[in-house]
């Protein structure tokens, strides 16, 4: 009798492991941990799914995010992937732009790399608070339009936005630079204490209470001079 499986006698039955398997597995593991950290932050900080922007809340949320991300071993590719995960429905059940931005900022500020580039132009949603408390020595480049409070509390880092921002860009920044190639919304630089903001496009409005720092539009200094722009 002929064995119908004779031709497969030499077939290697043991699965071969290739580096791709390890890379994908490691990536999945770290992404699970990052997503878990985000969900925990949302659970703790946004109990009723409404997140009010208050200074104390911000500080608390950022501290919690930093505590979480300090334990994680990730790189900029993981941060970029989290942006994609947050943008599509699936792995992450809900996106709340404020805490998501705070969490992403914590990841960027704590990352090993000094230069970080996030490609956001393909995303359907915008994140707030990106670049929050960006420390000295770090450069964060955001490609695409972003939400409100971009570069809030900037702490010496360099933030480049290749697109437009929402309202309150650079609010409460202490030191560092923000470069915006597109337009900005209202209340830009509110409570600003130092540093520079450079805007290439239109400015929707400048904050009323500015304590220090400089604002430039298309290379021209428009603050600290007492002149308002549209």
């Amino acid at each position: 009798m002929i064995n119908p499986f004779e031709d497969f006698r030499e077939y290697p039955y043991k699965k071969k492991e290739i580096p791709l398997d390890r890379i994908v597995r490691a990536k999945e593991k770290i992404m699970d941990e990052i997503v878990e950290g985000y969900l925990k932050l949302v659970e703790e900080e946004v109990k009723d799914l409404v997140w009010l922007v208050e200074h104390s809340r911000l500080v608390r949320a950022y501290s919690a995010a930093i505590r979480t991300v300090e334990k994680l071993d990730y790189d900029i590719d993981d941060i970029e992937e989290l942006c994609l995960e947050l943008d599509r429905e699936g792995r992450i059940p809900y996106l709340i732009s404020g805490p998501a931005g705070i969490y992403l900022s914590a990841l960027c500020n704590n990352a090993g790399e000094e230069n970080i580039r996030l490609r956001l132009h393909e995303l359907k949603r915008t994140f707030h608070f990106l670049g929050y408390r960006l420390p000295q020595g770090k450069t964060l480049i955001l490609q695409g339009d972003v939400g409100d409070f971009i570069g809030a509390g900037l702490s010496g880092g360099k933030l480049v936005v290749e697109g437009s921002t929402g309202n309150w860009a650079g609010a409460g920044m202490m030191d560092g630079e923000i470069h915006i190639t597109g337009h900005t919304g209202r209340n830009m630089g509110e409570w600003m204490g130092g540093g520079e903001i450079h805007v290439e496009g239109y400015i929707g409005g400048i904050g009323k209470s500015i304590r220090g720092g400089r604002i430039y539009q298309q290379g021209n200094l428009i603050r600290p001079y007492d002149r308002t722009t549209r």
Binding site: P12, K15, I18, P19, D21, I23, V24, D77, R119
Partner: protein, 539 residues
Amino acid sequence: MIGPRGRKKKGKATASGTMENEEHKYDLMLKDIWAKVRTKHFFPEMPNPTISDSMDRVAMETKSKQITLSQPFIEEAAKRLQPERVIEALLDHGVAHYTYCPWDFHTHLMLYQEAKKVLKDKEMAQKSTDYFMDVVADTHCFKEKETPISDLYCHMDRGILDEAIHALYQRIWGKDLSVQGYEEISRKLSRIPYLDRKPWPDSIRRFSKIIQGLLELEKKSGTLNQPSPMGQNDFGRYTEQELDQGLKEFAMSTGNPGSFSEVVTDFEEELQEAGFNTSSGMGFGPGSPLDADILFYMKLAENYSLPIKRTPIEKSGSLYPVSHSPWELGKPFRDIDPWTSFGKIMPAITQIWERREGDTFGEEEGTPNCIVAIDSSGSMTNPRQQLSYAVLGAACASDAYLRNDAKVAVYNFSDAQHGGRKTLDYTRHRKQIYQSVCHYFGGGTRLDIKDLDSLQEPSRPDIFIITDMQITNLEALISYLNGHENRVTAVHIGENRHVMQFKRSMGIRKNISIYSVQKKQDIPKIVLGKIREYFRSVS
């Protein structure tokens, strides 16, 4: 040109015995290696591969599942690697495209569609799809089979993108392919789970985004259109049936005429080159430009098989001439056709009429012709912008009658009295029927009963009407249908007071069936010409 052993040759005949020996050597080699490769890949249903000495630019190509390897490529690669291993690597690559990625035409189209969403450019999307499929197929081979693909890639000439992709292979296969640089790109690309089919749509979007910069660079330098060394993954690899089936599945999965037509219009030429056509005149052969919207409904309708209740038809008893056949001795003279016999009585030259018995309504069953009346007024969905259930329903009905050897007439109406009407007489020409069904007028809704009546014929055709019933002269339609004995399938889109009025007036008629279509899934529930005991009461 095909040689004596199925080898594809250049136009000129081989002169020297050395060349013939060389060819024979490769043919024998190919035969042995093909047997090995087939076993390795679990005996794929593919014809025997061939070797061509006329392919200079690429290593291989696949046409209708048959792989053709380039002899010049093999000879060149054989300087650095054994020719057996070159052939095996090429066959592994070709077979893995067939058995793993893209696997079928539908997956190929889906991958292209996702790449195009990111890259917004046909050539770039095509190139990205090609490379993605290569990475998946090669990685599958490398992981699951014993293959010399990596050895072959070590010695290949590379463009910018090939360098990046080979840098990726280096990283995910753990083999040195002598590529320097492309650290960031290969690192980002290596995170994509190529061997997981489920997230392929997401994976190719990410893949395309990562290589977008290099694609733009190639486009600027004019090298984007050059085929990759391993050959292009064009549509020629699929058979006509596979193209047909792929389009059917793609229409079903997109469910949207806009998305479907965006992809299919991009490949109009490629599909024609690949020989996509159908015998029923529904394809897009020479001189017949592709109308992707019509094709969408055509393919979508093929996914739904509506049943038709057959009407009793019996033999009439009278014979009528149907066709000719050669006259033989002993056959009657009375059936000779002098016009086609050249006036001669001679076996094999003289032609006689073959006669067949005619059909009439009776105890045997048959399918009558059908009048498809479709409302394309402003209250109906424009079929070219969104999926129109009315057009899909009418397309399915037409398809069902055509499949049952009947003819279909179409009456497409909006405000008929002001020119908003299109009438197509009984035909089996599928494309004409779909063109009439897909036509969109917009505007008001008023049908002209005379138009509908002009399509009536003595054999009492079925009437299939699909509308939202917001017809200004609905009473006229009701009274017309009340006055005729045709089997009527009335399909209404949505619910409104006019629908209620129609149902109240027609509900008691046994020759009329009323169906509601709210979603795509309701369409298969329609049974055309289904009548409650109508024929029983008539007989």
